[in-house]
Symmetry: C2
Subunit: 350 residues, 2 copies
């Protein structure tokens, strides 16, 4: 189904890596599977200066690229930085653009492991990367970051999961369930068999409101911080910020990503307990948590961080909560950038 | 519309106080309006040993009565304790039981002020109460408690709003909006014109899930505290606890209460700023906050408490979060009971 939102104009420039017929963990195969990515800087001759910056729910490479630039921690004059989109994200092979028999609601179930295996192929087959200086990502990007550490321990020297967990908690799982329920409550959803790309507008608005409810902290609301964006009212914030973000997107794409999120669990690949799985991580890990995050709370991040040998916990105390990563407050952007600098400069195993 | 849930069997014994044709703040009149209440103990001859225990969203007198008993803070051997139900709660005159032209979705808009004016008439006209030793209430009961303090300062000697605010915050308002949206998303809702009492089952389930998402703290979920109730799984907790609570209720009743909640504001009666309104309170106020409450957070409670002269802040640090008031953990019940004892023993004006 055509959806003009998922375009080079809105999210590019990005490239497509051909995965061919890609075998998924669920047992099905995605024919002619494509992984969308952007990249910055040059790979050195030893092929050891790569950074992998994974992407969150509902986002694309474009959403994270503000953290990449000359003079920033993620400096393309020093590093070769790859930003791989998720499968199902809208730019990679996704429900909205897959041909039959995989289109729309018939798209196969994807896992975080599928994403990371696809990214690993991009890094190794396309670029010949030997080792990675830093894997990072926010929210679902944090899930992919942990998956990288566990699945490819020999490649990942440092990692920075930001507002993300290695294993989805029951509360976070409920959060995903509630916003999916909100999306699917729209009768126009028709179990995913809508025939117009923007038919499910009401469901997307309801989903947006659930994100608003949990996305920032309560103090953000009491202080009416939307005025910092030049928005005058709560209603203006809901419509102009949250609804505007989600409304152009494809519902089946979002549900594909949400399903991955809900099932996220690094123990699936290790076959061990969470303690043993996180305990086996060899990368130097900087766990970055938003102090007032309501759905990936500090306590959940800290709980996992304490199981990772030699890891560090860093907090971002923004009223933006989980969405502090958007860096809409300059001090949040600066703090996250400085933590990433610290991570990149820290010693790590080989 | 008949709904067997709202019965003496389930919620009694309770009595009905005839308010007659009750003039509402919205300008409309509820004909033959009835206020349901329960009471315990005896009024002393000076008519000064009353306690008013107001009721939360979706609850009735029955839900709060576990805090009343011999040897507890709310001891009927010492106090005359009245538990007035909300208008719209299902036992008082409510959308589901009002005759035309006020039935169902045509029920008039009620305010917290209407509730408290009705309760004041019950206390003064029916019982001749002169002064009140303690007004208390949880959640929406906290809203009514603040309203009592501001509206009838000459009567209220002490007050204990528990997990409730004097003015609904923007975030709390969004929370109410999201759970109402969940309820109304069910096509069977039909803008309130459903014709079977339990037609809106799907909407009530969705509302229940939003309550689950915000009702306890995230750590409650990570620790799977539902096992303390003998429930084995998250799904079992959602269905056996939250859905079971809401499913028998009337959607229009819930929406009536939710609308009050959303508009709750003690400044409506004072016509002054929040600072000046709370600053004028003469009662000795114990603000009780649940440390990990996600929708009436400690910060919002503290913000208001600091504006009230001579007030005290007490915290209940339970993983049950907002729903710590249910007292399902014995230590929560004991702590709340002890704070109420402290409040009742504290000196106060007049």
């Amino acid at each position: 189904m055509e959806n003009e939102y998922y375009s080079q104009e809105n999210h590019g420039p990005y490239s497509l890596f051909e995965l061919g017929d890609f075998q998924l963990e669920c047992g099905r195969t995605l024919a002619d599977c494509q992984l969308a990515y952007s990249c910055f800087g040059e790979l050195n001759s030893e092929k050891t200066n790569a950074i992998v910056f994974t992407v969150m729910f509902s986002g694309t490479n474009k959403a994270m690229e503000k953290y990449i630039g000359k003079g920033l921690a993620l400096d393309p004059e020093k590093y070769f930085i790859v930003v791989p989109n998720q499968l199902g994200s809208g730019l990679s092979t996704s429900p909205h653009n897959a041909p039959p028999p995989d289109e729309g609601p018939d798209f196969p179930q994807i896992s975080i492991g599928d994403d990371v295996r696809a990214q690993h192929r991009l890094l190794t087959e396309k670029f010949g990367v030997k080792s990675i200086d830093l894997v990072l990502g926010w929210s679902m990007g944090g899930q992919q970051t942990y998956e990288w550490c566990v699945r490819y321990p020999e490649m990942v020297r440092r990692a920075a999961p930001i507002g993300g967990t290695a294993r989805t908690t029951p509360h976070d799982s409920l959060y995903v369930e509630v916003f999916c329920e909100a999306l699917k409550s729209d009768p126009a959803w028709e179990h995913g068999r809508y025939t117009q790309p923007h038919a499910v507008e009401l469901g997307l608005k309801r989903l947006a409101h659930v994100f608003a409810l949990m996305g920032n902290c309560t103090e953000f609301y009491r202080q009416e911080k939307w005025t910092d964006l030049g928005i005058a009212s709560l209603d203006g914030y809901l419509s102009g910020f949250w609804e505007t973000w989600f409304k152009p997107m494809d519902p089946n794409n979002l549900l594909c990503m949400a399903s991955k999120w809900k099932r996220g669990d690094v123990c699936a690949v290790s076959g061990k307990s969470l303690k043993d799985t996180l305990g086996s991580i060899r990368a130097k890990v900087f766990v970055i948590a938003f102090t007032q995050d309501m759905f990936i709370p500090l306590t959940d991040c800290k709980y996992e961080q304490e199981m990772i040998p030699g890891s560090e916990l860093r907090q971002v105390p923004t009223l933006w909560g989980h969405f502090g990563m958007l860096g809409l407050a300059q001090e949040d952007f600066d703090l996250i950038n400085s933590i990433l600098s610290e991570a990149l400069q820290s010693p790590c195993a080989a």
